[in-house]
Subunit: 137 residues, 2 copies
Amino acid sequence: MKDDRALLQEALQEAKLGLREGGLPIIVARGHNLRVQSGDPTAHAETVCIRNAGRRRDWHELTMVSTLSPCIMCTGTALLYRIPSVIVGENRNFLGAEDLFRSRGVELVVLDDPECIEIMAEFVRQHPDLWNEDIGL
Amino acid sequence: MKDDRALLQEALQEAKLGLREGGLPIIVARGHNLRVQSGDPTAHAETVCIRNAGRRRDWHELTMVSTLSPCIMCTGTALLYRIPSVIVGENRNFLGAEDLFRSRGVELVVLDDPECIEIMAEFVRQHPDLWNEDIGL
């Protein structure tokens, strides 16, 4: 549990970097949401992170860490590469495809972290239009 | 059915463009697999196509066309944006997450097209290593 929280702090640092850029405060490991900055509709934090990870064969040894519950695109991307373990900061502002992760045997931990909840809630309050676009609404 | 086949011909033209570049012959509408060319593990044809489509609010009016059955990442990406209709050239060389599409109410047509089957089978024969990497094996 201690390690999960340390990893989440790394994710939060990356989220704050995204916020300062004017983007969305959702991130994983090293990569943050770039949909607004790049105009790329697939640039959710988790998918950007996997993109940044590059071509590799050790996905089955990796853990994905995200401040927010991953959407179905990001879940599918992690499942394609058989990432076995996912740490989620919170799922109150958005509940992603957690059932799909679990149905495929992925170990999923939701930390319900107050700072992750607040950073996301504040973004949704300030930019409901960008947020709705981000989740396909 | 006639329109479905015409759309598939467009997809096949794009697939052949990818092959000439030394990449994988799987494509959708306008976008082909760029994983080898770009080093981006998320650059399957369908995800590249959605990326190329850019930020938009009319996903619910679009049809995704792919020469090959979409993997779970590409399926998740199409589901995120609520693309309602998917045309698939073939699913013999690879059966993607078609059940997931159907469970979400997406209209899915599989054409079992001989040319799509052959172009993919030939690539898998010539490059089994690249192919396995592409599907997370």
